[in-house]
Each structure stands twice: as structure tokens, then as C-alpha cells.
Symmetry: C2
């Protein structure tokens, strides 16, 4: 709980932001308040959806498993999408983004993939899930686990106002009982199962999957480990934004890839260098080509909504947070196959500016 006065103070000190979504008045934490981490959400009665904590990354199975675990753990697949927390509040389903905003897109779509009747039996449950696929409004890439539109993958359960996660056995049982769509489960391992986990991660690497999240049985102790191919596909989908993302986005993934290949040399296939070079250059060629054609560099996103009102909520949110960088079509959203389809472009300013100057023949000092 965070009481009204504490929240008012936090808002005044810019540790929290007061927001409204379609009549729901809530706040998101920008900094920790009462030990709740940033990204936590304060509901109208002061109850809290805890922020989803960052999961530490290991880059070596051989060294990392014995160092990070002293008990068995589950290996769950990490899906490359965006993280939402889903709950029912006063009869309505809401999905909150990692930062603590109501996500109008996810709020609109999650009931396509899960039956909200679960909240009759478990009214204080919070589903932590990944939304992934080719048609999201936030991501340039997709996952091999979703062929079209989007999918939902539940990987954790929390309870309103309670710290920590629901333990794994209870989580599996609730997921099964209520037919929730789970993140793929790859079995239980011990810290000595380096070989078996190595085989598993090499198979996931071959399939283009992102990687694994390892979780102890009580659900509290975690580590993630990603595939080399996910590093390359991250680079591929973002190379058109090379100058707009923090450059560490690229250097971290290159370093991770080199460590992954040094631990799994059999995954260093003959055309890997070619694939990496292409991942970097294809987006940049595309950016130069876009700039020559249309004078700027951007990316086209598409996603679809069940309710027109949610599409409009989403557009307002993007206009408020993305400003002039986001451009919607004049007729957006338009009806298609029973949904409201929204397409929009996001412009990348720094690469647009650098290419503008370079292609105009200006002199640059670096």
C-alpha cells in the first residue's frame, strides 16, 4: 500500500506520475517509493502492482550456473517481446507496461489470448506476460514463436500488493487450470547440468529463439541467458537506428555474441560472419535509400485493435510521448478483418540528420 499523502508527496517530488486512462486514475513510480521499485503502479485505493524487476544476465553457462544457483531451477523460454502486467480492477482488464503506463494496445488485445474468468477465482492475481509478434506498436523485430499478429506468453504470476512472485509449482498449476498461454517450459535442471543446458541453448540458437530464463522453485532467484542468434537479430532489426539507439546496444550484443560462440563453438557456422555483416549493413543501406527517397529515416509499425476507442487512446498516448516523431495515416485507424488496423511511422532523428548532412555534401568534423 502507498497512502494518499505519500503518493501526493511522491508526485510533487517527481518520484511518481499521476495518470488517467479512460476514467481510471492511477500513478506510476518513476523512483522507488516505500520500497516499491520504479515501474510499480498505484491503483486508486492505494494498492500496488509491483514493478517487474530486472533479471540479471549470465554470459557463461559453465561458470554462471554454479556461481548463481545452489539448487535446482526451471528453464523457461525467454520470448523477445515486451513485458506487461495484466490484472482485473473493478471489473475491467488492464495491461500495464514495464514503465507503469496502461498500455492501450495490450489492454485491448490480451483477452484475445486468455479468458478473464481466471480473475473470478483469483481476483488479486497479476499475470506477468510477454507480448510478441510481427504486429506490435513498439518492436521492430519479431519472434519465431509467433508467425503473424501477436501472441501472449505468461511467465510469472504476482499478487496485488504482495512482494515477490508466486512459487513455480503454484504458477504451473494456475496456468494449467486456467488454460493460460505459457512461455515454453524446457524442464528442470541442476547447476551441474551444463551439458544438457548447453544442448538446449544450441537448439534454441538454431531455431532463432531468444534464450532462457532460469528460475528456482520458489520463483525468487533468477538469471537469464540468451542465444548468439538473438544478438544478431537484435542488431539486424535495429541497424537502421544505428545512431539513435545508445551505441552500447550494439557493442554489448557483439561482445555477448563473441562470448556465446567461444562457449558453443559448434554454433559458429561458416556463414555467421556474413550474416552478422549483413545484419549491420542491410539496415544502414535501407536508411540511406530511405533518406534519398523521402528525406528521412524511419520505421513503419502496424498493430490492430478490437476496439476503436483503444486505438484512439493509443494514438493519443503516442502523440503525447513520441511527439513529432510519430506520424499516423490520415485514415487511421481503419477497419480490416474485424479489427481496427493502425499503421504509423516513427522517425529516427540522429541518423536522419547525419545522412542529411552527409548526402548534402557538408563537411563533418569527428
Amino acid at each position: 500500500m502507498i497512502d494518499h499523502e505519500t503518493l501526493q508527496d511522491a508526485v510533487a517530488n517527481r518520484r511518481a506520475e499521476a495518470l488517467t486512462f479512460d476514467g481510471l486514475e492511477y500513478a506510476r513510480l518513476l523512483e522507488p517509493v516505500n520500497h516499491y521499485p520504479r515501474g510499480s503502479v498505484v491503483l486508486p485505493d492505494g494498492s500496488i502492482i509491483p514493478g517487474y524487476p530486472a533479471i540479471g544476465r549470465i554470459q557463461s553457462l559453465e561458470a554462471g550456473l554454479p556461481r548463481q544457483f545452489d539448487q535446482p531451477f526451471w528453464a523457461e523460454e525467454k520470448i523477445d517481446g515486451f513485458n506487461v502486467r495484466i490484472l482485473r480492477w473493478h471489473g475491467r482488464i488492464y495491461a500495464f507496461s514495464r514503465g507503469g503506463y496502461v498500455c492501450a494496445f495490450s489492454t485491448d488485445r490480451v483477452t484475445d489470448f486468455m479468458d478473464p474468468v481466471i480473475f473470478d477465482a483469483e481476483p488479486d492475481l497479476i499475470l506477468c506476460a510477454e507480448i510478441a509478434g510481427p504486429d506490435t506498436p513498439y518492436l521492430e523485430g519479431s519472434t519465431p514463436r509467433v508467425a503473424h499478429d501477436v501472441g501472449l506468453f505468461v511467465f510469472d504470476l504476482m499478487r496485488l500488493g504482495q512482494p515477490g512472485f508466486v512459487p513455480q509449482p503454484e504458477k504451473f498449476s494456475l496456468i494449467e487450470h486456467h488454460a493460460l498461454p505459457p512461455a515454453p517450459l524446457h524442464g528442470q535442471f541442476t547447476p551441474h547440468d551444463t551439458q544438457a543446458l548447453g544442448q538446449l541453448i544450441r537448439r534454441l540458437d538454431e531455431e532463432g529463439a531468444e534464450g532462457l530464463v532460469l528460475k528456482t522453485v520458489d520463483g525468487q532467484h533468477r538469471a537469464k541467458y540468451v542465444t548468439g542468434s538473438s544478438c544478431i537479430s537484435d542488431i539486424r532489426v535495429c541497424s537502421e537506428q544505428l545512431l539513435d539507439l545508445p551505441p552500447e546496444y550494439f557493442t554489448n550484443r557483439l561482445t555477448r555474441l563473441a562470448i556465446f560462440l567461444s562457449e558453443h563453438p559448434s554454433r559458429h557456422h561458416t556463414d555467421l560472419e556474413q550474416i552478422l555483416g549483413d545484419a549491420l549493413l542491410s539496415g544502414l543501406y535501407g536508411a540511406v535509400g530511405q533518406h534519398r527517397r523521402q528525406g528521412h529515416v524511419g520505421h513503419r509499425y502496424r498493430c490492430r485493435f478490437r476496439e476503436r476507442a483503444n486505438a484512439l487512446h493509443f494514438m493519443n498516448h503516442m502523440r503525447a510521448t513520441g511527439g513529432r516523431h510519430v506520424a499516423f495515416a490520415d485514415d487511421a485507424p481503419r477497419q480490416e478483418d474485424g479489427y481496427w488496423l493502425l499503421e504509423f511511422d516513427r522517425q529516427f532523428d540522429r541518423i536522419t540528420g547525419t545522412l542529411a548532412s552527409a548526402l548534402a555534401g557538408e563537411r563533418q568534423y569527428d
Copy 2:
């Protein structure tokens, strides 16, 4: 000229640094003083070796030539090395680095490549030159123009205390008359010679050369233009330092490469992506391997001196500026083929630290 009092003030305000090299008391400018740029050198009588100015880069020949030039210009080859200014002062030859230090290595070696008798005829002359080759103490890469050891390439002349450069005709005549080793000269062009310059740069790209510096006849107006292959070779020689260099080192070169290839599509040969991917990964594999073997990542440099005393000056300078990152062999410098050979390792801290943590199985939050 900078008078004694002005210099004392500048030193007190950290706009200049007072230094000594083997009895020569001089100062280098850390910030502009009396309109002399940073990197300028103040000699004991107050006369000034002007700092070598940065040359603006164009990334498009087609747009850049007409935009930057309204008169004919010379195309001189840009050599991938380090920039020195050479002069004689009270009977001794000194070579100063871009930052304004006496470079003990260059000071020792330049007379291997030029006859100092030129300073009898032209006592106020300053030679601006590139030192390049596999055996320099500063660079990880080399140039195809020098097969072994180092070479000297004179590309500009200045006169002590005078702003600007000696005009091109006088420069060419002095270079020829005194048999100075010039940077390769590729002819004179007009701003409309996009095609001829395109052919030239594509040939240089194929040869692995760095690029061109274009200079008007009066020597004052300049622009540089580099090849795509030089971007790749820069990435290759520095990928083992991926986390220690500013990440823009890599992102700028990738962007430049994409623009180069879009303007010279015939240079986009079929194995270019493979070569780029290998340029990035081979250094990183090497770094991981080095870390597994020896617990840190570094680079081995080698260079040779005529005089043992200069090698010792150089070692003192490196110890003072490079600190614990630089390690010389116990027997350094040692005699070899009539020279004093110096070998040393420089450690890269950030990639060493990141790999230490990753290979020890620690959890990382990014």
C-alpha cells in the same frame, strides 16, 4: 608569438602545459591562446609551431565537391598513420605529436627518411607529415603503403609562427628540390570531376588505401574523403578494444561505409558482408581467447629507435601518460639489427573487466 607572461597565465589556467624534453623547455596548448589552436607548441623564445587543424570530412563526392569547392584542387593520398610536425631548433631535429608533445619515437626516426639539410636552406620550415607502418608505438593497424617498419609521408609545409600552409606550388617545389618523401599525389581536379575522382577513390578502395585529402592551390581550403575499405580495416584493427574506444568509433565507420557503398555500388563485392562480420568478430574472439589464457586483454606494440636514449625517453613518457596500462619487457629496449627494439603491451581495461565478470559467471544488469 606568445610572450612569457601570457604563457605563464595560460599554464596557471590550465590552457597550456609546460614540458621538458632532453633539455628543451617548451609548452603545448590545451586550449586556444592568442588565436593559436590547441596542439600548438610554444618554443623557448615564444615562437609558435601552429597546431595542425582538423580537416572536415565529406561523405559524398557528388554532393560534396560542388558544395565545398569553387576552384580546382589537388588530390593527395591520405595515409593511415599519425601526424607529426618536424622542425629544427637550435641545431636539433624535433617531431611534435598532434597534441603538442615532443614524440621521442618520431624525433628519433625521422632522419631515417629525410635529409635535415633542408633546414639549412629553410630554417623556419615545419614539415607536416604522417608516420605510418606496422611498427609504430601508437597504432594497431598499418597501411598498404609501408610493408615493414615505418615510413614518412610529407603532406604539408608550415613556417614557424606563420598562420596557414605553404601554397601547393611552393610545397611541391620544396618537396622535389629537397627530395622529401611525399604523400602520393593523384593529380589536380575540378569540382565537376566527380567521375574521375570516383574512379580514383574506387581504385584506392581496392588497394586498401585510406582515402584522399583535397586541397585548393593556395593550400588553405581542404576536405577529406575516405574509402569504404578503410572503414572496415579501422574496425578490424580496433575490435579487440570494442568497449574501450568511444562506441562512436564503430558506429561512425559503419555509417560511412554504408554511404560509400551507396555511392560506389560497384565496390559492394559479394564477400563484403563476410569481411565486415569477420572484422568485428575476429578481434573479439581474440579478446575472449586472450582473457581465458592470460586474464586480460591487450595489444602488443613494437617499434625501433636509432638511439637508446630516445627509447628511454619514450618509455618514460608512456609510463607517465599510460600508467599501469603499459608494460615493457624487462630487457627493453634490446638491440636488434643496429636499432634499439622496444616491445610493450597496452591493456584494455573495460573489455578486460567485462570479460572477467562474464567469464566468471557473474550476473550483469544492462
